[in-house]
Symmetry: C2
Subunit: 292 residues, 2 copies
């Protein structure tokens, strides 16, 4: 299992570097999700976790007695049957073609299938789940806009000339805003990096020229002693970053923390939404005169 997951993941990474928006990447995402679901279903069992998050229930996968637990899985969002029903049409028509009522659960289940399976077989590997999720989110945005992103930008400033490595940057033509798309499985205290990168882009290219759109999987944290789940949220700090570092245009989550969703209703009005909503507002996001 480990070998197959690793081999296929390697092939997906290569395909993503070559053509992130391509159908080959959609196929790779779906294959890994299917392999993950099959493994979790047939080789693992579920362990109930104590949820300390109001309104959400979580469980973890494990292979057996004393084996490693996967990251917490949101029971309402994880739906293997639903995901398998839609994967073929997602490969053919893009994830945007998945029924809107099912999309959040399909996306969450795909992301979690690979991440949880990898957690169980390769304890301590946080890199490949992060990359898988980055490819999944990046593919969806690239396919929707019909454009592959860059991974670095050129900075020219008098006698200084340098290439700055960045998260995905989508250039959508002269009449549209560009998109700066950082993708994280979770953010914690590292989230300040996202605002800082946005600040650099604003400084180099001008405010509102390249809009920051952050995509996250969740903010869960498992207390291993008690098998209980919390969401780590720092809404007060997010508000300060949005006021004093730079402005993010959107934050999308697959498993959205309620305390972040509420940020959209009070100053400085950070718009935190379910990722499925991206497909409803993809055009609005890049409209040059949209409210920043």
């Amino acid at each position: 299992m480990t070998d197959t997951l690793t081999t296929r993941f390697g092939a997906l990474s290569v395909a993503a570097r070559d053509d992130l928006k391509g159908a080959g990447v959609a196929r790779g995402i779906a294959e890994l999700a299917e392999m993950g679901l099959d493994f979790l279903e047939r080789r693992c069992r579920r362990v109930e976790l104590t949820s300390n998050v109001t309104g959400k229930e979580y469980f973890a996968f494990t292979r057996g007695r004393g084996g490693a637990l996967s990251r917490p899985v949101n029971a309402r969002l994880f739906d293997a049957e639903l995901a398998l029903t839609w994967l073929d049409s997602a490969v053919a028509g893009g994830f945007g073609s998945v029924d809107r009522g099912a999309l959040d659960r399909v996306l969450y289940t795909c992301a979690m299938a690979y991440c949880a399976a990898n957690d169980v077989v390769k304890t301590g590997d946080k890199k490949t789940p992060g990359t898988y999720f980055e490819i999944l989110a990046g593919h969806m945005v690239a396919r929707e806009y019909g454009t592959n992103p860059q991974r670095s930008i050129q900075v020219l400033n008098l006698d200084l000339e340098t290439q700055l490595p960045t998260d995905f940057i989508f250039d959508l033509g002269e009449t549209a805003a560009r998109i700066h798309l950082p993708v994280k499985t979770s953010t914690r205290e590292r989230v300040i990096q996202v605002w800082a990168h946005q600040r650099v882009l604003d400084g180099v290219y001008g405010v509102n020229r390249i809009r920051g759109v952050l995509v996250c999987l969740n903010e869960t944290n498992m207390q291993t002693r008690s098998n209980s789940v919390i969401e780590v949220c720092l809404p007060g700090q997010w508000a300060i970053y949005q006021m004093f570092i730079a402005q993010l245009h959107r934050v999308y989550y697959l498993d959205i923390p309620e305390r972040y969703r509420e940020l959209g209703t009070k100053y400085p009005f950070i718009q935190v939404r379910p990722f499925s909503q991206f497909f409803d507002e993809a055009d609005e996001l890049i409209r040059p005169h949209a409210a920043p």
Copy 2:
């Protein structure tokens, strides 16, 4: 050994929370350094590493065949005999009382003694070496200024009121600039956080009100397959952060990378210096009308 190091480290952490500038903390730092040196000397052997850093030689400590290697140690800076000679007077009079020609090596040896010993006995633990170094650097600055730092600041902004956790902040009275003192064993790509935090402080309190002073141990990275050492430096990115996010007033290193030292001689003139120099310019750093 592990137990004793862990127990003493716990006591040092408690003392540091209570009175960072106090002689009890100096004693704890010295004790842990002595225990580390004794362990490295008597229970470990040195393994030569291939240095890919011009002008620097590195070795690592290990307990025996197949045992974990410590982080790379700079052979010119690590001097156990010199450190042991000076530790007593450092406890009595502060590290500022150590002979200036010996100070860099004494400090480097203290920091590395604990970090390397901990690497060998507790593989994968990066937290306590980071905390030990933070206490060491924080103690020196606190003792020099005769003031303990805060770990959070209050943000008041119209209807918003929140406590923002920060690195050490030294309040040195109404007629002096304050110091924002992040301390890192190494920075890599995480360094952008330091500029971002500085940006928040500049935005909340005004530019040049709280000066950013970053203290680092080194930027070495060991390639485990070849036992070779490189320094990971991103001078072009540092220049961009200094231009577009905020301005750091000083960066101090114990094992200073040459490519960062050179940043001080060209735009935007980031001042990167050996940490020992702090004692020569401690007053200048907080002078309110100093060039920013």
